[in-house]
Symmetry: C2
Subunit: 332 residues, 2 copies
DNA sequence: ATGAAAGCGCTAACAT
DNA sequence: ATGTTAGCGCTTTCAT
């Protein structure tokens, strides 16, 4: 069984290659019935267009730039997964994906057909830079209102985590923030605060500790809290990695999760599963696909859109109902 | 100035497209002089073959699978950079690159033209699996002898780090290992030991601590050493990330690097520069290119080769000559 | 050793 | 609304 080509699909559907191509590229001028017919044949045959051929047939470089700060690479898993999602989607569209670190912005001299911005921070110069160059783009994370962005509901996610803990009886809930340069961090903090408000709990600056999205940062923040003698029965972290660090710090201090302290994360990376971590899931693949979609639309000249992706709380073993500390200690 | 194509090169060199193609692909049957002539024109014009066109003209899927464990994503920066190098190289050859996590090995049902294995561990089943499927591959990291691998001189690198510290007067040198499942970790430990032997220093099991290649792991290992009251004036870490953790732990304990303790890393990732870390540099780009090269050779039916890449010691501020502890404290 | 020419699978311009 | 056709830039026979 040799490779399925567009010609094969056309023959099988009893139409011309041109029509199939039009359907594939969502171009106007095809009867609704024919469109459905062709779609059916495509599905049945499991036909996937050859990226190389598409790239060749269209003009231009057919390169999408993935703009990211070098720091972001530290983000490791999260950006790795996001990148996978983006690459796969663009590959199918016949686009290559090229990583362009912010420092090497000279790579924009040979402009890519489009760009995806990752890790946008508060006053990021890149959106304006790209606009000036006339390169269409979309971004993961919010910034100016007139750009195409997709973002996860950071505040809503954290608020849900807080409510979950409150429902379990927790009243003294710590929060460990991410890197304060990013708005994800700020929004998650806001979500934490609004979660407290919802539950009628007081805001307390002494319960908020600075982290940096890394496991080490989470560990040190937790140690600081412990050393200061702050009282708490739960910790909400702005990332799974930090939650990992927090759990390690608690255990090193002889405490047990969740018996002595409940911990929640954010992201739902593989590490969360390994640790049995209750966390706020970000649908990474979906985010990547949305970002790709928005960019493709921009490149096609369609208007700017935004996309706010909802999160969902994944409850695992790291959060549990509050029992008096004494009881918890006894149990252990 | 429109795009430079093979036709343009052919015209400029006064030969046919076919000949240029033969030169580009190192195929036999071209006069040495013509070959040189064409090469010259290619360089002068800055001609780069169009990946899409190559892909289309050759047959097959033209997909390279990047096989990696999900854990590896945690490696973050290192694997990110390695991946960049691989993708760029293959892109120029007209190959797409597809990440295949070990868990999703069903992706091999539609076999890629070749595969690169990352993070090979001691008895990794993947080489045999690929062999059974008849998929050519190369790997980063050593394993069986009859496979194509490229590896960095792990032992040599660590040995050099130890010698450097010994030359600075250090005698009580700690070592923090990586994840013990990987051979990189084992080889670096061996390098540490042979460095001690070279210098006539005794091996001491009490100076070796288990890490896991992460910053958090380095932090905790260092804390353990401190808590046990082990005496030491220097630490060699099996990775930059762990060195980062070690430095944090030392500072949290009120010690100063390098005045109280010298620290070395391994990798020379961007973080090493930021920290002013003395470290063993791995030429990541070169490693990626070598791995790509070996795979391309395999796919062309050429014999298996190996490639051992040398490391180099980058001396920065985190290592310094030993002075008596008292003096060091005074200075601060 | 080199040239000429036929595709590779697709898109897009031009017909109908 | 759909079919037809000419390339996109390269590799690869098949001639010479």
């Amino acid at each position: 069984m040799s490779k399925i080509t567009i010609a094969r699909v056309a023959q099988e559907a009893g139409v011309s290659k041109g029509t199939v191509s039009r359907v594939l590229n969502d171009r106007a001028g095809v009867n609704e019935e024919t469109r459905a017919l062709v779609r059916g044949v495509v599905d049945r045959l499991g036909y996937v267009p050859d990226p190389g051929a598409r790239q060749l047939a269209r003009r231009g470089r057919h390169v999408i730039g993935l703009l990211l700060d070098d720091d972001l690479r530290r983000g490791g898993t999260y950006y790795g997964l996001l990148r996978d999602a983006l690459e796969e989607r663009f590959l199918n569209e016949g686009y290559h994906t090229l990583v362009i670190p912010t420092e090497r912005s000279d790579a924009l001299d040979t402009p890519p057909d489009g760009a995806i911005l990752l890790g946008v921070h508060l006053d990021d110069p890149r959106p304006r830079q790209l606009e000036a160059l006339g390169i269409p783009f979309s971004m993961v994370g919010r910034s100016l209102d007139d750009t195409a962005w997709v973002d996860v509901d950071n505040a809503g996610g954290l608020r849900e985590a807080v409510r979950h803990l409150v429902a379990l009886g927790h009243k003294r809930i710590l929060h460990i923030t991410g890197a304060h340069t990013g708005q994800a961090s700020v929004l998650r903090l806001e979500g934490y605060l609004s979660g407290l408000r919802d539950s009628g709990l007081p805001e307390d600056g002494a319960l908020i500790f600075d982290g940096d999205f890394t496991a080490l940062g989470g560990y040190r923040a937790t140690r600081r809290a412990l050393e200061r003698g702050v009282e708490f029965t739960a910790i909400t972290c702005a990332s799974d990695e930090m939650a990992h660090g927090a759990i390690s710090a608690l255990e090193d201090a002889g405490m047990r999760v969740p018996w002595d302290v409940s911990v929640t994360g954010f992201d739902d990376l593989p590490v969360a599963g390994r640790l049995g971590l209750t966390t706020v899931r970000q649908p990474i693949t979906q985010i990547g696909e949305a970002a790709a979609e928005l960019l493709l639309e921009r490149m096609a000249g369609k208007p700017v859109r935004h996309c706010l992706v909802p999160t969902s709380l994944i409850v695992r073993a790291s959060s549990a109902a509050l029992v008096s500390t004494t009881v918890a200690r006894d149990r252990h």
